[in-house]
């Protein structure tokens, strides 16, 4: 096939544009990395693009790693990841299995009750008052139970169960298996790829969430990482840390970048390997949603 000149020009233009877009996407991360590795005083007087650390040193990281709140934040977030995600995945798998069954009279009613919540909600204040009235205020319970099921993930999981041919279940039922053993022994192994997808989705949302922690937690010992980050990056209260780092203003800048780096590095490391699962989740969701 002949490629016209206009076509060739477009291709070249498109490649240049894509390289530009990738640069714009990645540069902020590189900037943060370089800034975090810079000498704080030299960095303060630096202007323009940063293409390498200025006055390379690891002081900012040394200070951040000694900071108690960062350690507390990481510990709490890890705890929440384990507890919250296992509860979420268990409930989502069981719930999706139930609403994917076709031969039970009440199932369509359950499904409707669940779908309705995607369109209607009580809103922020009734949600807040409800969690408080349940006595979960100022505890991890307020961060775990209100988000125990995400309806989008439930629908993704349900789609996976529906696509399994009925014959699998029927033959198991003839052998006398109940719904619990059908789910865990026969169907679950077949939907493991989708379970992986929702594990990842839930993990990302637990890792990133800060708002519920902000409105429900007062005890600083319970703060998840993102809430600690909000204090240091947004509310700019690096003062405490800057004092341990002696020369106040200058250090706090590079410290903030080091904190961003430490908080993002785990994601940057695992992301390339997991990206295809995330994309798969969107595809499954798109079929039904």
């Amino acid at each position: 096939m002949q490629i016209s000149r206009g076509q060739k020009m477009f291709n070249v233009f498109n490649y240049i544009l894509m390289i530009f877009l990738m640069t714009v996407t990645l540069y902020p991360f590189l900037y943060v990395a370089f800034a975090s590795l810079s000498n704080s005083v030299e960095f303060m007087s630096h202007q323009g693009l940063l293409l390498a650390p200025v006055g390379f040193n690891l002081n900012a990281y040394k200070i951040v790693l000694k900071e108690e709140m960062i350690a507390i934040g990481f510990r709490n977030t890890l705890f929440l990841l384990v507890t919250s995600v296992s509860l979420q995945v268990t409930l989502t798998v069981v719930g999706a299995y139930v609403i994917s069954r076709k031969n039970a009279i009440l199932v369509p009613l359950f499904t409707k009750l669940i779908i309705v919540t995607m369109f209607f909600s009580g809103g922020l204040i009734p949600f807040y008052l409800n969690v408080r009235s349940l006595g979960m205020d100022n505890s991890f319970a307020a961060l775990i139970f209100p988000v125990a099921i995400n309806t989008f993930n439930l629908i993704i999981m349900r789609t996976a169960f529906i696509t399994i041919p009925n014959s699998m279940e029927e033959s198991a039922m003839i052998d006398g298996a109940g719904p619990v053993s059908i789910l865990f022994k026969i169907l679950l192994p077949l939907v493991i790829p989708t379970v992986m997808v929702i594990v990842l989705y839930y993990s990302v949302s637990v890792w990133n969430s800060w708002f519920n922690a902000m409105i429900f937690l007062r005890n600083r010992k319970l703060f998840p990482l993102q809430l600690v980050l909000r204090e240091t990056l947004i509310l700019n209260s690096t003062n405490a840390m800057a004092q341990t780092g002696r020369d106040s203003e200058g250090v706090s800048e590079t410290i903030q970048y080091a904190i961003m780096m430490i908080a993002t590095l785990p994601i940057l490391v695992v992301y390339p390997f997991l990206q295809k699962y995330f994309v798969k989740g969107v595809m499954i969701g798109a079929v039904k949603g």
Binding site: G6, Q7, N14, Y15, M18, M22, V24, T25, L26, P28, V32, Q47, G48, L91, V94, G95, V98, R101, A104, I105, L113, I114, T117, F119, F120, G122, G123, L124, I125, P126, F127, Y128, L129, N130, R132, L134, F145, P146, A148, P179, V180, N208, W210, F211, I215, Q226, R230, L233, I234, Q256, Y257, M260, A263, T264, L268, Y271, P272, V279, V282, A286
Partner: protein
């Protein structure tokens, strides 16, 4: 007649309850499995929905939702007469329309461009990189935004080269919306393009072959085959977007705004947050939130009906 009708109904009801009892016997273990899930939805979705009635009451925690006295639509009237009412509506609409005009088409254009990349591995790398910002936590993204818009930032270094003055963008009301929208595109255009890329793969290849035989250029193919091919996806996403018209999320704004920029940055949801959770005006802020959701839902129904009429595509 009446006797007969009643009898028939009771007979049907008897039959029905028999069916239900049989179903319960057969599926009781399935229903037991459903219990925790139903408990979750009742406790964390339906109970707060019921809690919305405090919008018509003067809620006090001591008296509870049921015990608090009714005040009718007082809180709604208070909101409409509030000096901030127009500012909140205007800001919400401006931010929402700006993201609709700029953030909504961005992933579609991006998907079309990625689709034109002939080299498989290059296309894969582009996708890997443009999806990335979606996974960075909002707090870190907003930290980045604050850094990159401060008066010492590299954006300002560049602006100075062109003879502009240094400004701290997020301390000026007029820059808030542009910063919000541009960062929104940076964050979400890549990830949102996935759904369009998926739609693009399902466009019939034969159509392209036929078009090439007819001598259609690539541009023509895009215009007459590709775009109509992904139109249903675009319309569905558009309806969802319209339904969320007044649903400007509070999380990002709360992280980025400050009292200096309330003038353009304060939207209904952030106002609900401040009034309700910082000033503890629970009933008033619930009323504001309810007003917001009613408009949203009306918009969603309206958009859905419109699209059903024009394109026979509907969400339900």
């Amino acid at each position: 007649m009446r006797y007969k009708k009643g009898k028939i109904i009771s007979m049907i009801a008897g039959e029905k309850s028999k069916v239900y009892i049989k179903d319960l016997k057969r599926n009781y273990s399935l229903y037991l499995m459903a219990l925790p899930i139903l408990a979750f939805y009742i406790l964390f979705h339906y109970k707060p929905m019921y809690g919305v009635i405090i919008a018509f009451k003067n809620f006090s925690p001591a008296k509870g939702v049921i015990g608090s006295e009714w005040v009718g639509i007082k809180h709604f009237i208070d909101f409409f007469c509030n000096p901030y009412f127009f500012r909140l509506m205007k800001n919400t609409l401006v931010i929402s329309l700006s993201t609709l005009v700029f953030s909504f088409p961005a992933p579609i254009i991006l998907a079309l461009l990625i689709n034109e990349i002939r080299s498989k591995w290059f296309s894969r790398i582009v996708q890997l990189i443009v999806y990335l910002p979606h996974f960075i936590s909002l707090v870190v993204v907003c930290g980045l935004i604050l850094k990159f818009t401060s008066d010492k930032s590299i954006i300002n270094d560049i602006a100075v080269l062109f003879g502009h003055e240094r400004v701290s963008f997020l301390n000026h009301p007029k820059y808030f919306v542009p910063v919000y929208v541009i960062s929104d595109i940076w964050q979400s255009a890549g990830w949102n393009s996935i759904i369009y890329l998926a739609a693009l793969t399902s466009v019939e290849q034969q159509l392209y072959e036929a078009a090439i035989i007819d001598g259609a250029s690539r541009w023509r193919q895009t215009l007459h085959i590709t775009i109509p091919g992904i139109a249903p996806t675009i319309i569905t996403m558009f309806i969802l977007r319209i339904g969320n018209m007044l649903n400007v999320g509070y999380e990002k704004i709360i992280l980025l705004y400050n009292p200096v920029t309330y003038e353009t940055a304060d939207v209904i949801s952030t106002y609900v947050y401040r009034k309700g959770l910082i000033e503890n005006s629970w009933s008033f802020s619930t009323a504001v939130g309810l007003f917001n959701s009613i408009i949203n839902f009306t918009l969603l129904i309206f958009a859905n009906r419109l699209s059903r009429k024009i394109n026979e595509i509907s969400l339900w």
